[in-house]
């Protein structure tokens, strides 16, 4: 399949033409006494109701006005996730200005680039540390006029005329407040849905970060997609702790926070997040894959200290969870109930995930192992695919679940209208259309133009494949794809990564470029796992070379390759492989010291084998020069089996 079309959302909480500030006003008048924001402070969870929050926002807005911020200006923000940071951003949006948020750990030079590029007139800085950074730039960046800080700790001795506390800013706005009481609603009313709300800086892998201009509509639409797909209810709790500089937090916290609306909670301090998460047990949360991995490995490591009996019970429960979670039948259900009662419920409780009905993993792919682990525990972890420029595109939400895919296209807000459509171009690139549109890069018309093709589709730069079920599989960045002699484009990295995730395979070297018309692979087996496998099956072997050529081992590798092949279209599948008779070794310059492949060296040394992979013989004689540590060299000669995959031609 090369094209799929999404669906319209059914949730009645649509955007209906309202920008974030307008939604904010409306929510505040509908539920003035409900909690909107909530922070842990002085050991308690301190709620801020909608009316309190709106009051704060309006005071900040007047303060910004008093500082001379006009609609369309840019205001920057550098802070951990705190209530004041959110309020400040809402105030910026209410003023009709653009918000450029920065990661709190940014260096001064990164900060300089963003302030300069966005032409920010005011920067909100959380505390003394951030103020100090901003102060070094106040004379360098011409547009920057004010630094407003939230936390006055350590600020007693500062008397720079352009530095003021947020209270001072509010005080300056007070006059405006009394003079024009209706002005706030007027200003807010004039902020349109299609106006640009934020400039989100993407950490470009090359060059300086580019500022993506995202409109209210864009943020809200992506928020709606999540809300509809994951059934995020009014009043669900959300723990905000990923920086506002990340577009995902803008969508989940800032936009979905007012759209659903959710209760947005803030941890006491960055280091108390795990603890606060446990206390809150939120319904909705979004972590990066790295954080999920850390959570899983932390739990595993913790369980290593448990009493052996407890550990066995835990392992039994995990195995039961893996095997029986979705199985039917009374015995399965009973076992599952048992495992849940004895172990798994406790694990979920300790992680603070017992109520999480939409725990999401966003960013790059999370390994299948981690997925199955969380699913076994009973945490319905889901993949979420999206990017700053494309918004949230796909996730596992239609009930089906395959950890290797990114899920299905998300439903679009019916008031936005146009359905999401995903196209795969000839080069394998995902092209998107529908939903709210990306408003281009700030100060960068060339890059903006490049990001759309002639048909007006957004070029994601991601190579994907669409399965028969309509799931999307992420293959590679388009620039990392390779072309075969017959012009077919395939994802070598995707293959290598997926093969490497098998325990039997230590390294996989994909062969296949414009000189060949099929894909083949050199496999460096994992000696330890394969050795254990051989022993368990009563197979004799003396050396690594012998082990690598055991028919049973080769069969095992073939099985793995067949599984990975399943995920790809026929021409991209591995057609033949062989197992290397010696381990790839940094001493032989085949790997770098950090275990990255040195492809040229490998291609040279194993040229005979590569030739055989594309020939007709089932075996080849391979001679490899080995250098010992003492500098001696010797030639190892061995017969290598060439295995051809049966499904390669269908």
């Amino acid at each position: 399949m090369t094209q799929i079309t999404g669906v319209l959302g059914t949730d009645p909480r649509t955007i209906a033409g309202r920008s974030i500030p307008q939604l904010l006003l409306e929510r505040a008048s509908s539920f003035p006494d409900d909690t909107f924001l909530q922070k842990k402070h002085f050991g308690l969870w301190k709620p801020f109701t909608w009316s309190q929050t709106l009051n704060m926002i309006s005071r900040y807005t007047y303060g910004l006005t008093a500082l001379g911020v006009e609609p369309g200006d840019c205001v920057a923000l550098i802070s951990e996730n705190i209530v004041e940071g959110f309020v400040a951003e809402y105030a910026i949006l209410c003023r009709g200005a653009l918000c450029a948020a920065m990661y709190p750990d940014m260096s001064v030079s990164e900060m300089e680039h963003i302030l300069r590029d966005s032409a920010a007139r005011v920067v909100f800085a959380e505390d003394q540390e951030q103020v100090d950074k901003a102060l070094t730039l106040i004379d360098k960046v011409e547009t920057l006029e004010w630094i407003v800080y939230f936390d006055d700790r350590g600020m007693w001795g500062y008397d720079h005329p352009q530095v003021l506390s947020v209270e001072e800013m509010e005080r300056r706005g007070e006059g405006f407040h009394t003079k024009f009481p209706e002005q706030f609603e007027q200003v807010v009313g004039s902020v349109g849905l299609r106006d640009v709300a934020i400039i989100s800086y993407t950490s470009g892998t090359t060059g300086l970060p580019k500022g993506a201009r995202l409109s209210h509509e864009f943020l809200l639409d992506s928020g709606y997609r999540l809300m509809d797909a994951f059934n995020v209810k009014h009043g669900h709790e959300y723990l905000s702790y990923i920086s506002q500089a990340w577009a995902a937090e803008q969508i989940c916290g800032i936009a979905l926070g007012v759209l659903a609306p959710m209760v947005v909670s803030f941890a006491e301090k960055p280091e108390t997040v795990p603890n606060d998460l446990r206390e809150l047990a939120p319904e909705f949360l979004l972590f990066t894959p790295r954080q999920w991995e850390m959570m899983a490995s932390g739990l595993q490591a913790n369980m290593f200290d448990a009493h052996p009996l407890v550990r066995r019970l835990y392992e039994w429960a995990l195995a039961t969870g893996k095997k029986h979670r979705d199985a039917r039948g009374l015995s399965s259900k009973l076992r599952m109930a048992m495992a849940d009662l004895l172990v798994l419920a406790g694990v979920r409780d300790n992680l603070g995930l017992k109520r999480a009905n939409a725990p999401l993993s966003a960013g790059s792919g999370l390994s299948e192992e981690i997925f199955t682990y969380f699913h076994a525990i009973g945490i319905p972890l889901r993949n979420l695919y999206g990017a700053t420029e494309s918004g949230l595109v796909a996730a596992h939400w239609k009930g089906t679940f395959n950890a290797r895919t990114m899920g299905q296209l998300l439903p679009v807000d019916p008031t936005i209208g146009t359905l999401l459509v995903a196209d795969v171009s000839d080069t394998g690139e995902l092209l998107l259309s529908g939903g709210a549109r990306f408003s281009g890069y700030h100060n960068n018309p060339d890059a903006s133009a490049e990001s759309f093709n002639e048909a007006g589709q957004f070029r994601t730069g991601d190579a994907i494949r669409i399965t028969e079920d309509g799931d999307m599989i992420f293959l590679d960045r388009v620039k990392d794809l390779r072309t075969l002699a017959n012009g077919h484009v395939y994802p070598p990295q995707f293959l290598e990564n997926n093969l490497r995730s098998s325990p039997f395979i230590k390294d996989a070297v994909i062969i296949g470029d414009e000189n060949y018309d099929r894909v083949s692979v050199l496999i460096n087996i994992d000696a330890e796992i394969c050795g254990r496998f051989a022993e368990r099956n009563g197979l004799g072997f003396g050396t690594f070379a012998e082990l690598s050529q055991l028919p049973e081992v080769i069969e095992q590798i073939a099985k793995t390759i067949a599984e990975v092949n399943q995920m790809l279209d026929a021409p991209s599948r591995v057609a033949s492989f062989c197992c290397l008779p010696k381990e790839l070794d940094p001493d032989d310059a085949e790997l770098t010291r950090s275990r990255k492949l040195r492809r040229n060296v490998i291609f040279d040394r194993y040229a005979t084998a590569i030739e055989a992979l594309y020939g007709d013989d089932d075996e080849c004689d391979l001679e490899v020069v080995i250098k010992y540590q003492d500098g001696r060299e010797s030639v190892v000669r061995s017969v290598v089996t060439i295995k051809r995959m049966e499904n390669a031609d269908d």
């Binding site: 002085f42 050991g43 350590g154 006491e268 301090k269 280091e271």
Partner: protein
């Protein structure tokens, strides 16, 4: 012009035949960090104990905010707003961090035995009010992740910080710190120095600081008094004291640099 908060006038303290403090006078003014240094056995601790009421001086007077407090017991002085921290580890080990700091508010709280037993609404409110104040100190000293941890489970540096927090609970008009940095590593010393400066700047509490670490003392204090053999040998701003030949010889003679 700064007001004098605490002044000791010609204090003298003897134990039998031993004279621990021969003649020390000291004045502390609002918003000042006033350091007291001297070689081991110079009489610093004995002097502090006279100030906080553990020992009664053989002669001389201690005046606090213009009142003569020489004869008052320690708890009366605490009620008046004189707080101190201690050498070594003197926190309440079996209480949590929050309870330790809360216990510093003792003399500001009013509820008595009956209130404690019945724990009726008013007492609960009072408790909540002071927990709130204690939490302010917890935030100030950056102890949030540990508020419910038993102090006995914490490391030495943190315990010293809790000792400080407890003293701040007294809502003091003057804070006496007895070798707060002894036994700390460089990082902990830096943290504590920052807290001490913040206490002076944000809370405007004058501080008497007895400390061994000369470098820190010279960095953060406004006034330095050097004593040796129970007598003041030099006093003034850090720069002046540093170059005083009497100080140099006392320190070289005492074998401590």
């Amino acid at each position: 012009m700064r007001n004098t908060v605490l002044s000791a006038k010609s204090l003298r303290l003897t134990f039998g035949a031993i004279t621990a403090v021969e003649d020390i006078s000291l004045q502390v003014k609002t918003g000042q960090i006033c350091a007291l240094i001297g070689p081991n056995g110079a009489g610093k601790s004995s002097f502090l104990n006279c100030l906080s009421g553990f020992y009664s001086p053989s002669s001389g007077t201690v005046e606090f905010e213009g009142e003569d407090i020489t004869g008052l017991t320690p708890f009366r002085r605490a009620e008046m707003g004189m707080a101190r921290t201690f050498q070594g580890n003197q926190t309440y080990q079996s209480m949590t961090v929050r309870e330790n700091i809360l216990s510093g508010f003792h003399s500001q709280m009013r509820s008595g035995l009956l209130g404690g037993l019945l724990y009726w609404g008013g007492v609960q409110q009072e408790n909540a009010h002071f927990i709130n104040l204690a939490e302010e100190i917890i935030e100030f000293l950056e102890l949030e992740p540990l508020r419910n941890t038993l102090v006995g489970e914490l490391g030495y540096g943190l315990r010293k910080r809790i000792d400080l927090g407890r003293a701040l609970g007294l809502n003091p008009k003057i804070l006496i710190m007895d070798e707060p940095m002894a036994g700390m590593n460089t990082e902990e010393k830096g943290d504590l120095a920052r807290f001490i400066l913040d206490i002076r700047d944000a809370r405007n509490i004058p501080i008497i600081l007895v400390e061994h670490d000369m470098e820190v003392v010279m960095d953060i204090s406004d006034e330095v008094t050097v004593i040796d053999w129970g007598k003041v040998i030099s006093s003034g701003p850090p720069d002046k004291v540093r170059s005083d030949p009497k100080v140099i010889s006392a320190y070289l003679g005492g074998g401590v640099v």
